[in-house]
């Protein structure tokens, strides 16, 4: 047999290929590293003048949410940049299951998740502790957790939550917001409430290093984060209440991310300066009619007010920073009816003649005049000023007194008022939007729907049954049927006029690579995760 002369050549070839592979891998890595800024320090400026308590049971507003999302983990999470309930993904819980009746939820926890600052492994005891606190009396988010009847922890990595009533949407309560964020029981007991609220301990990608009250909160990365070490090393979370100052600081490069404004002009200013925009899960803006007060105890008057204003004028004012809302469930939420799905009369397009006719039928042939309270907050005041002019065309005179926002909220809770403009952000499923504002037990039901006769037929009108039915079933079709019925009934009875959804804009410097697309967000801010990084300028 002749000796093979190919063997040495094949070895050399193999070696060459191997060397080339290693070299290209090294080169790719080097290129990727070269893209990164040398200093991975992110500066995030938001409005607000003081940090609220960062304990998820005590602090729940647009200033605390972005930080809480960095510091804490939850059993499940909404995909970064998206509030879609149907895309919820595992987080601390690797898997979960619900009983057929939606009353018992069992979560299997990921093992080895570590709390910050050496407070040990996150176990089922911490989850139970957190959820119990969330439903406690002192909790600002208790309303969303009252349905929890019992929490069992058969072993360190299993949590069983038993609900009093079925809740097909229970997952939103254990996602990354409100009481879904899991606190360290050991840290809280060790530090005490006040210290913990200032410098909380969680298991999220970043941990609070220190805080200068009213000025800045410093976070550093949690090297032991279970999804992987974050690329960003430090975050400075700054309070800069003046929008002009925030915008100039962003353009000047002194900050990297800012909370912006609901303003097409502002959006144009920052995009013209080369910045990128992202939008938060929008808030809803509605006008409630107090049906316990005349003349709003008459459905014809409420409908007249609605027909007199429509939505076009407000949309013209907001431009791209708002979208019209035709039902009491925002259009981006699953289960919401679109305008096309509604019968024409229930779309409440502006119709001054129809408004006048309804007023005349209700006993106001010459129009009417009422007093109302308003907030100085531009998000509340701007639509009201527009509506005031539109109402005047239908013979409706509204004399409103503007007060500062905290005073407004205090007074509408303590005094009866005729018209109550209201805005808010809720979980992305219809039951949360319908619950607080329209059910008979809703804590923010200023129209008193579900407590009075809304349509004049002598019986109390309510959507409680629809909300309960949707919660009690896991069948999407049955849920949709319940939500459809609720939305149509609310539009017929018009306890509130659903006006628009406001998009809160955030601006980011072009070097900020979030690691995901910011189409929307549930945390009312920009989510900073372990994939977020700063590219070189």
């Amino acid at each position: 047999m002749l000796p093979s002369t190919n063997a040495p050549r094949r070895r050399v070839l193999a070696l060459l290929i191997g060397a080339l592979a290693i070299a290209s891998l090294a080169l790719t890595t080097a290129v990727a590293q070269a893209d990164l800024a040398e200093e991975q320090v992110l500066r995030y400026a938001t409005d607000g003048r003081q940090f609220p308590p960062l304990d998820p049971s005590l602090g729940a507003n647009n200033i605390s949410f972005p930080v809480q999302n960095m510091v804490f983990d939850s059993l499940v999470r909404f995909p970064p940049g998206s509030p879609r309930l149907d895309a919820i993904e595992p987080a601390l819980a690797e898997s979960w299951e619900a009983s057929e009746n939606g009353r018992v939820w069992t979560f299997r926890l990921r093992q080895g998740v570590q709390f910050h600052r050496g407070y040990g492994e996150l176990t089922s005891a911490d989850v139970a502790f957190s959820l119990e606190r969330a439903k406690g009396e002192a909790s600002v988010v208790a309303g969303s957790y009252r349905n929890i009847a019992a929490i069992e922890t058969p072993d360190p990595y299993t949590v069983v939550v038993r609900l009093a009533e079925p809740d097909a949407f229970f997952l939103t309560g254990v996602a990354n917001k409100y009481g879904g964020w899991i606190v360290s029981q050991a840290a809280l007991e060790d530090m005490g409430q006040d210290a913990y609220s200032l410098r909380p301990v969680g298991s999220g990608p970043f941990m609070v290093e220190d805080v200068v009250p009213g000025e800045v909160l410093h976070l550093v990365r949690h090297d032991g984060y279970w999804r992987g070490q974050p690329i960003i090393e430090r975050i400075e979370y700054l309070l800069m209440p003046d929008l002009t100052a925030r915008t100039l600081a962003l353009i000047n490069g002194e900050v990297d991310v800012i909370r912006g404004a609901v303003s097409p002009e502002w959006s144009a200013t920052v995009t013209n300066a080369g910045m990128n925009l992202g939008f938060s899960a929008p808030g809803q803006f509605i006008l409630m009619f107090n049906m316990e007060l005349e003349p709003f105890d008459d459905v014809r008057v409420r409908q007249a007010f609605a027909y007199a204003i429509g939505r076009d004028a407000v949309m013209a004012f907001y431009g791209d920073t708002a979208i019209p809302m035709y039902t009491n469930v925002p259009p981006y939420v699953m289960g919401a009816l679109s305008a096309e799905e509604l019968p024409e009369p229930l779309r409440y397009e502006r119709d001054v003649e129809r408004a006048r006719a309804l007023l005349a039928e209700a006993g106001f042939p010459n129009g009417l005049e009422i007093d109302a309270l308003a907030s100085e907050n531009p998000d509340y005041n701007n639509p009201l000023q527009i509506w005031k002019e539109l109402w005047a065309d239908a013979g409706i005179i509204v004399n409103y007194t503007a007060v500062d926002h905290p005073t407004y909220h205090a007074r509408i809770r303590s005094e009866p008022h005729t018209l109550i403009p209201y805005g808010g952000v809720k979980a992305p499923h219809p039951n949360d939007w319908l619950g607080d504002w329209y059910t008979s037990q809703g804590g923010l039901n200023f129209s008193h729907y579900g407590q009075v006769d809304a349509d004049g037929d002598g019986t109390v009108d309510s959507i409680d049954e629809y909300v309960a039915a949707a919660r009690a079933t896991l069948d999407p079709e049955a849920q949709q049927a319940a939500w459809t019925a609720a939305q149509l009934q609310l539009l017929e009875d018009m306890p509130t006029f659903p006006s628009h959804v406001v998009k809160i804009a955030f601006a980011l410097r072009p070097e900020v690579d979030l690691g995901y697309e910011l189409a929307s967000t549930v945390v009312d801010g920009v989510e900073i995760w372990e994939t977020t990084r700063l590219l070189s300028r």
Partner: protein, 312 residues
């Protein structure tokens, strides 16, 4: 000295009256801290729990007695919003506000006196005209607007100066850099006032007999103007400076927001919006004491500059 001791002691009852009035007035305003903290999700249960936690459900007089007892121990309470110690917050904020006030006052004095004296010495010339135009500009322009213009010019366009924050006390150079624009924005408007006073005062002093004598003795114009005339011309300027310092201190509120600087102005604004009683009461007290002390120091300085003044 007795006069000043008496005046200093008189600050105490003034502060007590102020604290009492503010304490009760705040609690009469609707929209307490619970709503500000809890926001749109505030429900009756969570409001009640908040008020119980902070003792706001107790009788007003009990709350007042508790607060005054704390004040006697120099315990200013805790913020409703973030639970931080008000004393510690003030300890951080006050030095920054005082520093900004002093820097702005220095700008006001140096610029105002220099331009005013030059205008008087070159009366009727283009220098005088330019100085008066400067005064008009200074009177007219709001300091917060000037602040934004300075940011646009020196930060965005030229990139020379940082536009936010106060820097670290350990880094003097950074501290100074971050002080330039806010001090200019605050100092320029009041410099206009100083300039007008200095000019008028100088014009009044220059024809005096003693200065004619000094010139006749052969002293140079520079010595006559700056050694003999200026000293007397500055007497009215001293009283204006005291007023200006109080004005500047009050105006730091807005500039601290524009330049995102820590300070008592920023604390004050935040506490108003958030109904953070403890912080609000304490910052108002600090302001009142500062203004009172400024007035006292102005009286002292006036007596030093003008030996003819004797306080009884």
């Amino acid at each position: 000295m007795t006069f000043f001791v008496r005046k200093a002691i008189g600050i105490v009852p003034m502060v007590l009256v102020l604290v009492t009035v503010v304490f009760f007035l705040l609690r009469l305003v609707p929209g307490g801290p619970a709503i500000a903290v809890l926001g749109d999700r505030a429900t009756p249960d969570s409001i009640a729990a908040f008020e119980a936690r902070w003792g706001l459900d107790r009788p007003l007089l009990v709350q007042y007695a508790d607060y005054m007892a704390g004040l006697a121990r120099l315990d200013f309470g805790r913020s409703f919003i973030d639970g931080s110690s008000v004393r510690e917050s003030l300890a951080r904020a006050v030095p920054h506000s005082i520093l900004l006030m002093l820097a702005a006052t220095a700008v006001s004095l140096v610029l105002g006196i220099t331009v005013g004296v030059l205008a008087a010495l070159r009366r009727g010339t283009w220098t005088d005209g330019a100085s008066r135009a400067f005064a008009l500009f200074g009177f007219s322009i709001p300091d917060f607007y000037l602040g934004v213009v300075l940011i646009l010019l020196f930060s965005l366009q030229l990139g020379w100066l940082p536009m936010r924050g106060a820097g670290d006390w350990d880094d003097t150079a950074d501290l100074a850099l971050r002080l330039i624009m806010p001090a200019l924005a605050l100092g320029l408007p009041t410099a206009a006032v100083v300039m007008r006073i200095a000019r008028a005062s100088m014009l009044e002093v220059l024809p005096s007999d003693y200065l004619r004598t000094a010139r006749a003795k052969g002293l140079s114009p520079r010595v006559v103007s700056f050694k003999h005339a200026l000293r007397n011309a500055l007497i009215p300027v001293v009283s204006v400076v005291g007023l200006n310092m109080g004005l500047i201190l009050g105006n730091t509120i807005v500039l601290e927001i524009v330049f995102s600087r820590p300070g008592i102005g920023r604390l004050l604004i935040g506490s108003i919006f958030n109904r953070d009683f403890a912080v609000l009461q304490s910052t108002l007290v600090v302001y009142a004491v500062c203004i009172a002390l400024i007035n006292l120091l102005t009286d002292l300085a006036y007596g030093v500059v003008n030996p003819a003044i004797r306080y009884e």
